[in-house]
Each structure stands twice: as structure tokens, then as C-alpha cells.
């Protein structure tokens, strides 16, 4: 799954899934490390999206006034 095609909602679901997996399963440490890296990247991209959404929202609302 490439970064660009994934939606925010899918990203959040994936992060939750990873958290559940990490907490519930006995994982290989390398697997674990990979999942953590993936989740961290997704979190970063979600933060970016939130940041962008916030500024887009502000721009749109500014147009109304």
C-alpha cells in the first residue's frame, strides 16, 4: 500500500490494527519493529493531513467573511 493512495480513515484503521496486533500477538521483534515503523509513518502522514485540513478549513472560512 503506497502512502499517497491511502485515505486518512484507512490510515487510522491500519494504525489501530497495528496497535491491536502489537498488544495482542507474540511478534517477532523485527516484525514488531517494522509494524511500529509503519504505524509511525502513518501517524506522521495523518498529522500532516490534519495540519493541511486545518489550514484548508481556515482558508475556506476566511473566504466567507
Amino acid at each position: 500500500m503506497s502512502k499517497k493512495s491511502i485515505s486518512y480513515k484507512e490510515a487510522i484503521d491500519r494504525i489501530n490494527e497495528i496497535v491491536t496486533t502489537i498488544e495482542g500477538e507474540d511478534l517477532d521483534i523485527d516484525e514488531l519493529t517494522g509494524l511500529v515503523k509503519e504505524a509511525t509513518t502513518l501517524i506522521g502522514s495523518c498529522k500532516d493531513k490534519l495540519q493541511n485540513a486545518e489550514s484548508d478549513l481556515q482558508t475556506s472560512l476566511d473566504k466567507l467573511n
Binding site: I12, I15, L32, V36, I43, L50, N65
Partner: protein
């Protein structure tokens, strides 16, 4: 028995008369005949009547020099010439001529008697008309607002008729249709002649709005016919309004009194008719003006109404738009608030996941200086270990391989 010649007898009579009579007398008599000869001498027949029965009669004359001044004075004072049918107070001398016999010579006339007599007759006529309720009859007729068809009774040769027609024709604005019914306007025939004209008009009365009786001429003219009961009655009973312009300076004649409207001269009658037209014209203009005013006011009112309505619409629209705008503003605020809240929630969700991940990240433990011991890549905690097993130990920056030499359970 002494004999007298006729001349002696006549002389005797003459001297007896001269001796026994006063030089002159004031005598009231009615003129029954009158003629003036070429030399200007006036010869009259004087009578006194009682109920149309002649009680006394005598020839009388006025010598030309006296006649000229007396007839002029009389006409001036009475408005009537000396003529048959009138009663006059004469100053007379009684003469007896041997050849021509008894006659009277007029020295003077007191016109006041005739004036009084005529005014008495006039008064009687007026009273009789009033008693017979004929006095106001013609006055009660309504003169049409615009009397344009006029029947004219006049002498066709009278200057007054010409003046009347000229005045009507040259008024510059209005057309009058006039038809002349010629009549004698003075003398004994006048009453019959005017009544005949009225009868002719009566026969075609629907063609006319009013009748005008006019007569030109000076103040001295003979107006007695206009004081007669017969003419006054005919005027009063006439079915059309009748206007007089008889042209005189003395008091109104009886005809004037019973007419619908009396004016002094024919020209005045014409002016009266024209001024009636003018008044009507003015009235029409006034109506027109009033209609215009009403129309203008109505127009102005409607324009204001429209203005008011259009500004009301504008105002209402503005207010509606404003309220919509306000509502939109509210919605935008809500949107902003909701969106921000949503983003905040997402932020905290992501932050929480971040922390969670950090906690479970093995690197976090290694960073604090701990190490992980693995057998076949997995933690040794849940695996069975035997002496001689190969183990891998990870620190933050090192991978250490070792072999188990002893195992102690704790």
C-alpha cells in the same frame, strides 16, 4: 225786429267770447287726430271721452313756430311725440273767426300731466299683470346655458339691428344663428306687428333658444307700445326666454319688466349673449383645469405609492438577505467550531496512538539502556531454554551472540 248780417252776428259772438272768457285756460284733452302741414302748422282734433263715448270735441292748432319748440320739449320730457291717443294738458286760447268759426290755439303744454297719466296707466298695467300672475312668467323660464339660436324681432332697417348683428358676428369666438322676424317697432301698428312676429316664432319655437326684441334709435323715440298690456302679456306668456334691448334712457318699459332679461341697448343684448358664452367657456376651462389637477394629484400619489412599494421591497429584500447572511455566518461559525473540534479530536487520537506506539516500541527500552535477549528472533521469556542454546542480545547499538552455560529458575 232788428236784423243782423252773418258777419255782424259772428262779430257779436267774437266780442262776447273775448269779453267773457279769460285770455287762456289750462285744459286736459285727448288728441284724436293730428296732422302737420307743409308750413309746419299743426292741426288737431281734441276730444274728451267717457267709456269710448265722445262727450266733447273741438279743433285746435299749434302754429309752426310754437309747434317746433313745444313738440321738441314734449318729446324730451315724455319720450313720446304728440300723437293721437294721448291725453295732454294744454294752455289754450279760445278763438272765434268770422269765416273759420270756433277753434283753440295752443300756447303751451305741461308735459308733466302726460307723464303722470302715462305712469298711472303703466302702474295699472303692471298691477293687472301681477294680479293675473303674468308678471314673472317669462323670467321663470330657464335661459339655455349656450343660447346660439336667436329669433330677432326688429325693424330690418333699424341701426340697432345692424349693431346687434355686427356685435354678434365680430365676437371672434362664437357662432350665433339669428333669424330676423321683421316688425314695426313704434307707432300704433307696433303692438300688432310685434305680436304677429311672436306668433310666427312660436310656430317654429323648437328652432330657437331665445327671442330678442331690439330697437335702435334715440331717447326721443316713441315707446308707448312697449307699455301696453297686450304686448306685455304676449311677452310674459311666450314659451321661450325673451330678451329686450329697446334702446332708451328713461325708466324701463313694461315690456322690459316682464321680459326674461332686459338690457338698455341692442349692443348690450349682444354683449350679454357673448358674455354668457364666455362664462360657459371659462367654466369648461375651469372643469378642464380641475380634471387635470385631480389627474395630476392621482398620478403623483400613484408614483409615490410605487416609490414607496419599491423601496419597501428593496428594504425587505435587504433584510431577508441580511438574515440569510447572518444565518450563513452562524452556519460558518458552527462549521468552523465543529471542524476544529473534529480536528482536535483527531489530533488527540493520533497523539494517543503515537504515545501508545512509543510505549510498546522495543527501541524505547533499548534507548533507556536495557537489552533484549532473543532465541530464534523471539524473546526468551516464554521459551524453553537449554544449556548450549545460542542467544542473541540486542542493545541500542550492539548485537551480541552468546551461548547458555547455566539456567536457574527464579
Amino acid at each position: 225786429m232788428a236784423q243782423l248780417t252773418l258777419f255782424e252776428l259772428n262779430n257779436l259772438i267774437k266780442s262776447q267770447l273775448e269779453n267773457n272768457l279769460e285770455p287762456n285756460y289750462w285744459v286736459v284733452a285727448e288728441i284724436s287726430e293730428l296732422r302737420v302741414n307743409q308750413k309746419g302748422h299743426c292741426y288737431m282734433e281734441l276730444v274728451e271721452k267717457e267709456n269710448n263715448f265722445i262727450q266733447a270735441k273741438m279743433r285746435a292748432n299749434i302754429w309752426s313756430y310754437t309747434y317746433r319748440s313745444l313738440s321738441a320739449q314734449f318729446e324730451n320730457a315724455t319720450g313720446t311725440s304728440l300723437k293721437p291717443g294721448i291725453k295732454v294738458l294744454f294752455n289754450l286760447s279760445v278763438n272765434f273767426h268770422e269765416v273759420y268759426g270756433l277753434s283753440l290755439t295752443v300756447n303751451d303744454i305741461d308735459p308733466n300731466y302726460t307723464i303722470g297719466e302715462r305712469s298711472r296707466l303703466r302702474e295699472e298695467t303692471i298691477q293687472r299683470l301681477q294680479q293675473e300672475e303674468l308678471f314673472d312668467k317669462n323670467k321663470k323660464l330657464e335661459l339655455p346655458i349656450v343660447p346660439q339660436n336667436i329669433a330677432v324681432i326688429s325693424s330690418d332697417s333699424a341701426a340697432g339691428y345692424g349693431d346687434f348683428i355686427d356685435q354678434l358676428r365680430n365676437n371672434g369666438s362664437y357662432y350665433f344663428q339669428t333669424i330676423l322676424f321683421p316688425a314695426m317697432m313704434q307707432g300704433n301698428e307696433a303692438v300688432v306687428s310685434i305680436r304677429k312676429a311672436l306668433k310666427d316664432i312660436h310656430e317654429s319655437q323648437t328652432n330657437f333658444d331665445a327671442v330678442v326684441i331690439i330697437r335702435g334709435g334715440g331717447a326721443q323715440a316713441d315707446l308707448d307700445c312697449f307699455d301696453t298690456y297686450e304686448l306685455a302679456r304676449a311677452i310674459s306668456l311666450f314659451p321661450l326666454p325673451l330678451l329686450t334691448g329697446i334702446g332708451h334712457e328713461r325708466d324701463q318699459t313694461v315690456a322690459d319688466l316682464v321680459a326674461h332679461t332686459s338690457l338698455k341697448t341692442p349692443t348690450a343684448v349682444a354683449e350679454f349673449l357673448i358674455s354668457g358664452m364666455n362664462r360657459f367657456d371659462d367654466l369648461l376651462h375651469e372643469y378642464l383645469y380641475r380634471i387635470e389637477k385631480v389627474f395630476e394629484n392621482k398620478l403623483t400619489f400613484e408614483q409615490r405609492q410605487l416609490q414607496y412599494l419599491s423601496s419597501s421591497i428593496e428594504q425587505a429584500t435587504k433584510e431577508t438577505l441580511k438574515s440569510y447572511d447572518h444565518a450563513l455566518g452562524q452556519k460558518a461559525l458552527t462549521l468552523k467550531y465543529v471542524s476544529q473540534r473534529f480536528l482536535e479530536r483527531q489530533h488527540s487520537l493520533v497523539d494517543r496512538l503515537d504515545q501508545q506506539l512509543t510505549l510498546i516500541d522495543p527501541m524505547t527500552i533499548l534507548k533507556r539502556g536495557y537489552s533484549l535477549t532473543l532465541k530464534n528472533g523471539k524473546s526468551v521469556m516464554n521459551q524453553k531454554l537449554e544449556v548450549g542454546d545460542l542467544l542473541e542480545t540486542r542493545t541500542l547499538n550492539k548485537n551480541i551472540n552468546s551461548q547458555v552455560t547455566a539456567i536457574k529458575d527464579e
